[in-house]
């Protein structure tokens, strides 16, 4: 019985998976006392990172299981940290009209959004609480 509250879910790169994972994250946030607008915003930001991994990481290749992981945990002094990781390849953004909204939304909500593109993509979002 050591450790902090945390949620880790492995999912396939499948559009149908985003909603139940958001719901699980939402109920987790409520259980650890994060409610209201803050909760809704965190779900929005995490939802964007999830959708990116589902949509871009494997870019058309068929979906397998465990291609994506979301890992949320409460860290003392930092707040809530959420990593969304995949084993795909980050696609550098050539500006396209109507695209680029997802990361913009995540950046507007999280205190920091950092993207690590070694060995797949990990988007780390920190939400100070």
């Amino acid at each position: 019985m050591t450790g902090r509250s945390e949620l880790r879910i492995k999912l396939a790169a499948n559009a149908q998976e985003a909603q139940p994972v958001r719901h699980a994250l939402g109920a987790f946030l409520s259980a650890i006392g994060i409610e209201g607008v803050r909760r809704e915003d965190i779900l929005t930001a995490a939802g964007e990172a999830l959708v990116n991994a589902i949509e871009h990481a494997y870019d058309g290749r068929p979906a397998d299981t465990d291609e994506i992981e979301i890992f949320a945990r409460q860290e003392d002094g930092t707040g809530l940290v959420i990593d969304v990781s995949d084993r795909g390849r980050f696609i550098e953004l050539a500006e396209r009209p109507g695209r680029g909204l997802g990361l913009r939304i995540a950046r507007a909500i999280a205190q920091t959004v950092s993207i690590d593109t070694e060995n797949g993509t990990t988007v780390r979002m920190i939400f100070t609480t």
Binding site: A18, V37, E40, G98, I105, A108
Partner: protein, 110 residues
């Protein structure tokens, strides 16, 4: 009578990537409308996929000179538009009556 009327498009639930093609199919303009009300009152979540479709729809409508208005009570929906930097891009209303008034005035009713 062949007066053009205001059409209403209803969207509901969680608008995310799994529903992109459904959202895309719902958000169509053919140019004969006096105006289009996108009723999102029952939308509980919208992500950038939904916003991208709304943007595309808004551009289609603009090209055909059909005014559109978005009706929403969801605070998540309003905030995600702000976070996306799309403030002022859509005409957003919390109540039906002012939305319809806006469309009536903006549209070229005969």
């Amino acid at each position: 009578m062949t007066s053009r009327s205001i059409e209403v498009i209803h969207l509901a639930g969680e608008l995310d990537i799994a529903r992109r093609s459904e959202i895309s199919a719902a958000l169509q303009v053919n140019g004969s409308e006096a105006g289009i009300l996108v009723d999102c009152c029952k939308v509980t979540y919208a992500d950038s996929t939904a916003l991208a479709e709304l943007l595309r729809f808004r551009n289609d409508a603009k090209n055909r000179q059909v005014p559109i208005a978005v009706l929403t009570g969801s605070t998540q929906f309003v905030r995600v538009i702000q976070y996306a930097g799309l403030n002022g891009v859509f005409e957003i209303f919390e109540h039906r009556a002012p939305a319809l008034t806006y469309l009536s005035n903006a549209g070229k009713l005969p």
